[in-house]
Symmetry: C2
C-alpha cells in the first residue's frame, strides 16, 4: 500500500517546492472581471468561485505540489457551495495535485467514521463502498482524544491516505488552551505532540515521516523548532505565512537537515496576488498568482536551504 506522506514528499521534491495553495475563496476577493459574468446569487457566486479556482489551479499545478481547499468557504454557500467544493477537489486531482481538505473535523466513534468516509475513506452501502470527496489528506481536531482519531487512522491504513491533526495553531488566541502548562510543567501542545507521535508511529514512510502528522502555525517560530525536535517523524502543515505574519526564516526552523519536514500554506497572498503586482491587469489575475507562487517558493527554499 502506498504511503500518503511519501507521495506528498515526492511531489514536493519533484517540483522543488514545499508550498500548498489554499483555496479559501471569499466572494469579495474574486476579480471583478469574473464576478460580473454571473448573477449576484448563491448560484452565480458559486460559478464565479469555480471559474476562479480552476484558473488558479491551471496557473499553478506544474509548480505547486498541493492544494488545500478550506471547506468552510464552500459550506457557507450550502448545497451549491459543496458542489463547487467537490468539483474543485476533483479538478485539482485530475491535474496531479495532492488534495488536502482543510475541515478540522472532530468527533467520536461512528461519527468520526462518517467524516473519515466522506473525506479520505469510502461510505459503505450494503456490500459496496462508494468514494465521496476522496482527498489525499484531511485536517482533524484532537480535542476528543484518540477515539476521534482512530477511525481516520484506519482509513489512512486501508486507503493509503493521511491526516494532519491541528496541534499548535497560528491564531493569537491559540494559547488559551494550547499553551496552558500542565502539572508536569509542559505546555498542552507538547502533551498532545506526544500523543500524536504515538498515534502516527505505525504509518511512517520511507522518507521518515508519518501519514498521521500535524498542523503547526508559522507564527510561533520557537515552538516550531521545539516541535521539530519533539516530533522527528511528524510532517508539518504550516499556515500563517504571509498575510498572518509568519516569516520564511522562522518557518525554516521546522525543517530537517535535508530541507524536508513541512509544507507551507498560503491562501490570500496567492489568491489575491493580482492586487499586489502593478504590472498585471486584473484580468491577468492567474499570472499574478503564478508570479507570487514562484516568489514564495524561492523565498522559502532559500531560507530552508540556508538555515
Amino acid at each position: 500500500m502506498k504511503n500518503a506522506m511519501d507521495e506528498l514528499i515526492e511531489k514536493i521534491k519533484k517540483l522543488d517546492n514545499p508550498t500548498v495553495i489554499g483555496l479559501d475563496p471569499r466572494y469579495d476577493m474574486i476579480p471583478e472581471c469574473i464576478r460580473k459574468k454571473y448573477d449576484e446569487t448563491i448560484e452565480g457566486a458559486c460559478l464565479a468561485i469555480l471559474e476562479f479556482n480552476k484558473a488558479l489551479i491551471d496557473a499553478t499545478y506544474d509548480i505547486i505540489p498541493a492544494v488545500k481547499p478550506q471547506i468552510a468557504f464552500y459550506e457557507m454557500f450550502g448545497i451549491e457551495g459543496m458542489k463547487v467544493f467537490k468539483e474543485t477537489c476533483d479538478y485539482a486531482k485530475k491535474k496531479g495535485m495532492c488534495v488536502i481538505i482543510d475541515a478540522k473535523r472532530g468527533d467520536i466513534g461512528s461519527t468520526a467514521e462518517g467524516y473519515s468516509n466522506a473525506f479520505i475513506g469510502k461510505t459503505p452501502l450494503g456490500d459496496k463502498k462508494e468514494s465521496i470527496f476522496d482527498a489525499d489528506f484531511v485536517t482533524v481536531n484532537p480535542y476528543l482524544g484518540s477515539d476521534g482519531i482512530k477511525p481516520f487512522i484506519k482509513d489512512c491504513i486501508e486507503y493509503g491516505k493521511g491526516i494532519f491533526i491541528i496541534l499548535k495553531t497560528s491564531n493569537p488566541s491559540s494559547g488559551e488552551l494550547q499553551n496552558v502548562i500542565t502539572e508536569n510543567g509542559e505546555e498542552i501542545y507538547k502533551h498532545m505532540a506526544k500523543l500524536i507521535n504515538d498515534w502516527g508511529k505505525d504509518l511512517i514512510g520511507e522518507n521518515g515521516y508519518s501519514s498521521v502528522s500535524v498542523v503547526v502555525g508559522a507564527t510561533h517560530p520557537r515552538e516550531l523548532e521545539e516541535l521539530r525536535e519533539l516530533m522527528p517523524n511528524a510532517f508539518f502543515l504550516i499556515p500563517g505565512y504571509g498575510a498572518q505574519g509568519g516569516k520564511a526564516e522562522d518557518i525554516a526552523l521546522g525543517f530537517d537537515k535535508e530541507g524536508i519536514g513541512g509544507i507551507i500554506n498560503a491562501s490570500r497572498s496567492l489568491m489575491c496576488a493580482y492586487k499586489k503586482y502593478n504590472e498585471f491587469e486584473e484580468k491577468d489575475y492567474a499570472m499574478a498568482t503564478r508570479r507570487e507562487a514562484i516568489r514564495m517558493r524561492d523565498e522559502l527554499n532559500s531560507a530552508i536551504k540556508n538555515k
Copy 2:
C-alpha cells in the same frame, strides 16, 4: 432580539420534556421496509434516510422539543447527503422543533465566520445576505481558543441564535486532553469552563442561561455535578444517555433546583426503538420511536424532579 436559549427552555417547559432526538441515520439502521423501496445507491440511500427522518419527526414533534442532526452522517453521502441534511433541518423547523446542528466546527477568523454564516448566520453576497442552513444552534469546538468562538457569538447576538461548545465529552478517551491537570491543579475542562463562562456572559437570557453554552457527556456524573456548580449560567447539551451508558439519576446532577439546566440527547435508542419493542412490527418503527421517547421523557423527568 430573542434569546435562543430562552426559546429552547420555553419549548422544553411547554412539552415538559428535556430531551432532543439525535438524527444520525446510518443506512444499515433504517428499517428494511423503507430501504427496499429505493435502490442501493447514494441517491437511493439518501431518499431512504429522508423518509426515515421525516417519519421520526412526524412521530415526535408534539412531544420532543428539539432535533439534533449530526452532519457527519450526511456529509458521508456527499452532495446528495447534504441535500437531505438541509431538507431534514427545514422539515423539523416547519414542525416547530428547535434545530441543533451537531457539527463541532472549529476554526479561526474568516473561516469561523464562514462556518457561522452557514449554520446560524447569513452569507454576505454584495449588499445582500442569504440564510443557508439557518439552525437555532450549532455545536462548536474550542481547541483554537476565543478566535474560533467569537465569530459565532457575533451571529448569536445578531440573529438570536446559540452555540454549544464541546467541553467534557462522553467518550472513553475524552480525558486524554480534557482531564489533563494544569499547573494550577485543575483539569483542563475546568480551565475551559471558566473561559466559556466569560464568552457567554453577555448572552444570558431571562431563564438565567446563556445562548453560549456547552456539551457535557452523561457518562461522567461527578463532572456533570461539578460543572453545574462552576457554570451556573451554562445550559448543558448532554449526549451519552442510553446506548453509551449514561443513567437518568446521574444526568439529574446537571440540573438546577427548578429542574432546568440541560437537554439530553438520544440518537440510536430512539431511531432503532423498533428493534427493542416486540409489540411493534418493523413497519410501525415510528410508533416504536414515540413509545421510547415517552419512556425516556418520563424516566428522565422522574430522576430530575426527585433528585
